[in-house]
Symmetry: C2
Subunit: 115 residues, 2 copies
DNA sequence: GCTACATTTCGTCAGATAACGAAATATAGT
DNA sequence: ACTATATTTCGTTATCTGACGAAATGTAGC
């Protein structure tokens, strides 16, 4: 395992949208359209962010009908990933943007959005 | 405190040279020319990396004659910085590049380099 | 104040990144 | 098979980043 692989893990966290996604997923699993609605970005942009987080192992996906749900990967094999995953629960909880996102996770309705 | 400030902290860790610098400084304080020698980059490039790490609070500098020494900031006020600082001690120790750098920290001699 | 040395700042350039819309793919129901 | 919906992939564009060398700044000793 070389340094480049580890750098990619840190790069995955170096974007406000991806940090917001991870903190949202700490509330519950979400489909792409729900995340898109909350972030207010293009679907393709969100899909790309999700693939970056998935490729390094922060999140995992599972299909549910026509939806693709994403969830936190709670069993990362990589120790760097594991350490970062742990602190992600403790940090950023006092940030306004994060608090607003989490509130929206409770009220967002995939049926209403994706019609 | 907004999300953008926190993102900058993660960005500071999203570069192989800056990770290497932080792990080197865990051995001991180093001056710019010693770090430059070990990384094999231009002095100006290293100086820029150091300013990025210093600006977010990972490291601090102190002058010693004509040298500028950099050291780990062990009392970060920001909680994100504190969490990341802690895990930085536990991770990357098994990476070859990091191990080689640390060995060089023991043998490098600023007088010989900066002649 | 001149000289030597250490570091920072500046200007430039190539490559990476995040954004978008459009097109392609996948799935469910008719 | 056709349609509608959800997501991904692709091509493009503007901005960010990391690299360098050259010039500027700071410090110590003569």
């Amino acid at each position: 395992m070389n340094l480049g692989v580890k750098v990619k893990i840190f790069k995955a966290l170096s974007d406000p949208s991806r940090l917001r996604i991870l903190k949202m997923l700490q509330v519950r699993s979400l489909c792409v359209c729900e995340i898109t609605e909350i972030l207010g970005l293009a679907t393709s942009t969100v899909s790309n962010h999700l693939s970056i987080l998935r490729d390094v192992g922060f999140i995992a996906e599972y299909k549910e009908g026509k939806w693709v749900n994403y969830k936190i990967n709670n069993n990362p094999t990589d120790p760097v990933l594991g350490s970062l995953n742990s602190i992600m629960h403790a940090i950023l909880n006092d940030i306004e943007d994060i608090q607003r996102d989490k509130k929206m996770v409770y009220t967002v309705d995939r049926i209403a959005i994706c019609r």
